[in-house]
Amino acid sequence: MLQEPLNTAQMKQILEAALLTAGQPLSLDELLRPFDGRMERATLRMLLDELKADWQQRSLELVQVASGWRFQARPEFSLYLSRINPERQQRYSRAAMETLAIIAYRQPVTRGDIEEIRGVAVNPNIMRQLIERNWIDVVGQRDVPGRPSLYATTKTFLDDLNLRSLSELPAMENFSQQDILFEPPQPD
């Protein structure tokens, strides 16, 4: 923690750190928050202009977009940076993968079934993500109070996984027992 009151150089460093770590544009109001009411809007604007000038000709540039200010990589670097994670094909979260696996192996299932197996609440965003991808859909309702939706995997899901049918997925019994018996015992 720094000694207050902060000097201008420190304020500028804090603004820079905030903008570099935010992961999204920050509005002027948000950028004032670190200073707890001890910075004028005019000062903030001035410091942002200075920061912008400081970063000219550097690896990132400070720009103003609809919802605020953000640092972004210079456009001529984009292609290089894209090579780091080429399948920005972002990956599904572990929770999403497990939810999908449960639906594939235990279908048709309700959200309640999934929660029971995983032991944690199902994030509605995950279901939405899988439905939007057209990997799962609702195939009916279970006849219990609340009539929860029953989810199953779709044909698109099989296509995307290069499977002709679910029965091509490995049966799990084989996994748990695989290291117990590989070969029948040899006769002496």
């Binding site: 750190a17 903008l19 570099l20 770590t21 935010a22 992961g23 990132l60 953000r70 640092f71 972004q72 990589a73 456009p75 670097f77 984009s78 292609l79 940076l81 894209s82 399948e87 920005r88 094909q89 990956r91 599904y92 572990r94 993968m97 497990e98 999908l100 696996a101 449960i102 594939a104 192996y105 235990r106 279908q107 048709p108 197996i117 995983r118 032991g119 991808r133 195939v139 009916g140 309702q141 279970r142 006849d143 009539r147 029953l150 199953a152 995997t153 995307d160 996984l161 290069n162 499977l163 049918s165 679910l166 029965s167 997925l169 490995p170 049966a171 799990m172 019994e173 996994f175 748990s176």
Partner: protein
């Protein structure tokens, strides 16, 4: 030495920073008090530390008496008595009784019965302190803030992909964690039935009421597939997912999804 409480303990609305020195705990506060401990070892460690006892020289009789007091109080307030605490009482009493019994002369070098308890207490204390240290370390998501500026991803940004192996690995992880492992063994045959359950439901959703015979494509599907279809329908009926109706004997049988 006083044990710093890691959680917020209040007795009669007053915040408690350290555990009281005297043994008397107001019964209403006992539940909160015991929640401050992570278990019987933690409680024992506290009793020893509170009296600044040399752990090497634990006065078993006194300690066991105090410990039993706590267990008695738990019972008095009808708290659900944790099995862990009872087990620890039994261990203390066993140690105490072994110390009271005269040692047979021929067993010269019998281990001190307290040795195992001391070992466990020391190990637990080390872990407890290690946990505090870990908790105090700066962490990403709390004190540590990681750079995350924006750049424009140029490569074609398709939706996330998965592979067959990803899915199998995810399911394996689920099985490994599921406490009721037994209920979730899925064989190849069962999987194919479950797939057909989804197919039948999808068909019923599209077409409403469907005659039983129409569900089967007798011409194109081989016998194994027809059997799987039939098993799927039986399973759907068993799980209450479809309604099967027939007006009279020998009249057509109809299936429909359970209505909204």
């Amino acid at each position: 030495m006083q044990t710093q409480l890691a959680i917020d303990v209040r007795i009669y609305g007053e915040q408690l920073d350290t555990i009281p020195q005297d043994l008397y705990i107001p019964p209403d506060a006992l539940e909160v008090y015991l929640e401050a401990f992570e278990g019987p070892l933690d409680l024992l460690l506290y009793l020893i530390r509170k009296h600044n006892l040399d752990i090497l020289d634990i006065p078993m009789a006194e300690l066991t008496r105090q410990y039993m007091d706590y267990v008695e109080k738990m019972r008095a307030t009808k708290l659900e008595l944790a099995a862990d605490y009872l087990l620890m009482s039994a261990m203390l009493i066993e140690i105490k009784s072994r110390m009271l019994l005269p040692k047979p002369a021929d067993i010269e070098q019998e281990d001190d019965p307290r040795a195992e308890l001391v070992r466990r207490l020391m190990e637990y204390e080390a872990i407890k302190l290690a946990a505090q240290r870990l908790d105090e370390m700066p962490q990403v998501g709390q004190e540590i803030v990681v750079a995350h500026a924006y750049f424009e991803q140029i490569a074609v940004a398709g939706p996330p992909g998965i592979s067959f192996e990803d899915l199998v690995a995810a399911w394996q992880a689920v099985l490994q964690r599921a406490s009721h492992f037994q209920h979730h063994r899925v064989g190849r045959a069962e999987l194919s039935v479950r797939e057909h359950m989804s197919l039948v439901l999808r068909r019923l959703q599209r077409d409403g009421m469907v005659e039983f015979m129409d569900l089967f494509d007798v011409v194109n599907d081989g016998l194994p597939k027809l059997v799987v279809y039939f098993l799927a329908i039986l399973e759907l009926a068993r799980e209450g997912l479809v309604k099967i109706t027939q007006q009279a004997s020998f009249s057509p049988i109809y299936l429909q999804a359970q209505e909204r």
